[in-house]
């Protein structure tokens, strides 16, 4: 049942990203909903299942991007694993810590995507504009992360990746 719900969640995120966030932008930067999902998967499921779910999200997102298939997937796997590792080190699962992980995770994902894209032969991804995009997208996702908690809890149940974290506040 969980894979089905997870699939539905990823599909919903892709549709919203492709339709709503093609128009809704903050200072010209679209929120990176799929990146947020990848970070949340790591935080929620832990290092074992989080990166797998993030890989699926990245692969689906790659279908719509002009960059080669697998580029987002590989970045999402790494970021999700890092978020899982960060989440497991927490003593308490607080909104502030979640927002911090989402913000840094998004920044790292955007920069990693651009760098890897350049390595793969895509031109014009790495410049000052990339840093601006990464900062704004990171800030948006930091604010949005606590809001997506209830959606994740509703669709895939309570978090299982916070072995090191204390009681949920």
């Amino acid at each position: 049942m969980i894979p089905l719900r997870l699939g539905a969640l990823i599909l919903l995120a892709v549709v919203v990203q492709v339709t709503v966030f093609a128009d809704v932008r903050v200072s010209g930067v679209a929120p990176e909903l799929l990146v947020l999902l990848a970070v949340m998967f790591g935080y929620w499921f832990g290092p074992r299942r989080g990166p797998t779910a993030a890989f699926a999200a990245g692969l689906f997102w790659d279908v719509y991007l002009p960059t080669p298939l697998g580029l987002s997937a590989i970045v999402f796997v790494v970021v999700s694993f890092a978020a899982a590792a960060g989440g497991a080190e927490l003593f308490r699962d607080s909104k502030l810590q979640l927002a911090t992980i989402a913000g840094f995770g998004t920044f790292a994902a955007v920069v990693g995507y651009a760098l890897l894209g350049e390595v793969m032969g895509q031109r014009g991804l790495v410049d000052l504009e990339m840093l601006r995009v990464a900062l704004i997208a990171g800030a948006i996702n930091a604010l949005a992360a606590p809001l997506t908690r209830p959606l994740l809890a509703w669709s895939i149940g309570p978090p299982t990746g916070l072995e090191g974290a204390g009681a949920v506040r």
């Binding site: 599909l11 549709v15 492709v18 339709t19 128009d23 990176e32 692969l59 997937a73 590989i74």
Partner: protein, 318 residues
């Protein structure tokens, strides 16, 4: 499960996922057709969902833009009002000038897409994500006769080229993408060159290279400011599709050759409808078979191995 065993499994899974992603990357970069077909299929399957979602969520986008881009809209309205006044005045003058305009068209030789089949398309959505700023998706695809490389135009001129074609949608690489090179002809001098958008300067296009490209000292060959720039007959696109008008001719960074700065005829950042020119696509010539320099090709004419006559080497060098 012991922690060490669990860590080992996590590591194995990470390595496996990374390897799968690298395999997919390699296949896609090598142009593996099945991977592209599968992606196109997914996009086609989701097209109705996206269309429905676009219709449902479009008020959200409109509301957002009206809230946060109000100043921009106000400025745009003022500019449009000013433009409308100018057009009203020009319309009166145009009646008198129409014969001159016809002559101008003839002299510029711009039979723009008169005999070419076109397919009208609506821009379904703008760029997706943060790193695809110079693409739009249109609502026509393979089923409507589109194929990769076709020119996308509006009444004003070239907009871009069809980059990726699915069943019912296509992605268009806009002329504002600096990586899109276009073979152009400067109408006033008939010089042929290669041009591309200027990074960071929306609406500007630069032509700075080409066969027999004039040097800065060739003052007689400088194109006139205000003269038209169109696609060249030998480019990948239909000949004589307008690109824009020359606004500046300046020396290049090397101080030897020319750079021709062109203002694009189209505002590619604000498109609603476009037309695709349905033309046969030129295929790039097949790469020549690589033969090691020390070996003799098996199918080589033995006569060619004979020592050349006097002057023969010179002829070859020429």
């Amino acid at each position: 499960m012991a922690p060490a065993q669990q860590t080992g499994r996590v590591r194995h899974r990470l390595v496996l996922l990374t390897l799968v992603a690298i395999t997919l990357l390699t296949l896609d970069l090598r142009g593996f057709e099945s991977a592209r077909t599968a992606q196109g299929l997914v996009r086609d399957l989701l097209h109705p969902v996206n269309t429905l979602a676009s219709a449902v969520f479009s008020p959200v986008g409109d509301l957002w833009n009206s809230l946060f881009d109000y100043d921009e809209l106000e400025a745009e309205n003022a500019a449009l009002r000013q433009e409308l006044d100018a057009v009203r005045g020009a319309a009166i003058q145009a009646e008198a000038d129409s014969s001159a305009y016809q002559q101008l068209l003839e002299s510029l030789d711009l039979p723009y897409a008169a005999d070419v089949t076109t397919v009208a398309a609506r821009v379904a959505r703008g760029p997706v994500g943060n790193f695809a700023g110079d693409v739009v998706t249109i609502d026509k695809g393979h089923r409507h006769g589109l194929s990769e490389g076709m020119a996308v135009v509006t009444g004003a001129g070239l907009v871009g080229r069809v980059e990726r074609v699915d069943g019912v949608t296509s992605t268009v690489q806009l002329l504002s993408d600096p990586s899109l090179l276009v073979g152009v002809r400067l109408v006033s001098t008939n010089d042929v060159g290669l041009g591309h958008a200027v990074p960071g300067e929306p609406g500007m296009f630069i032509v700075n290279q080409g066969p027999n490209w004039p040097r800065i000292t060739d003052t007689a060959l400088l194109p006139e400011v205000g003269s038209a720039v169109v696609t060249d007959a030998d480019s990948r696109y239909t000949a004589d599709v307008p690109i824009g008008r020359v606004v500046e001719v300046r020396p290049a960074a090397d101080d030897l050759s020319l750079e021709v700065l062109v203002e694009l005829a189209n505002d590619v950042e604000d498109l609603a409808f476009v037309s695709v020119l349905i033309t046969a696509q030129r295929e790039d010539p097949a790469p020549a078979e690589v033969v090691p320099s020390t070996s003799v090709p098996l199918d080589l004419d033995p006569d060619l191995l004979d020592p050349p006559e006097e002057g023969g080497a010179d002829e070859v060098n020429q």
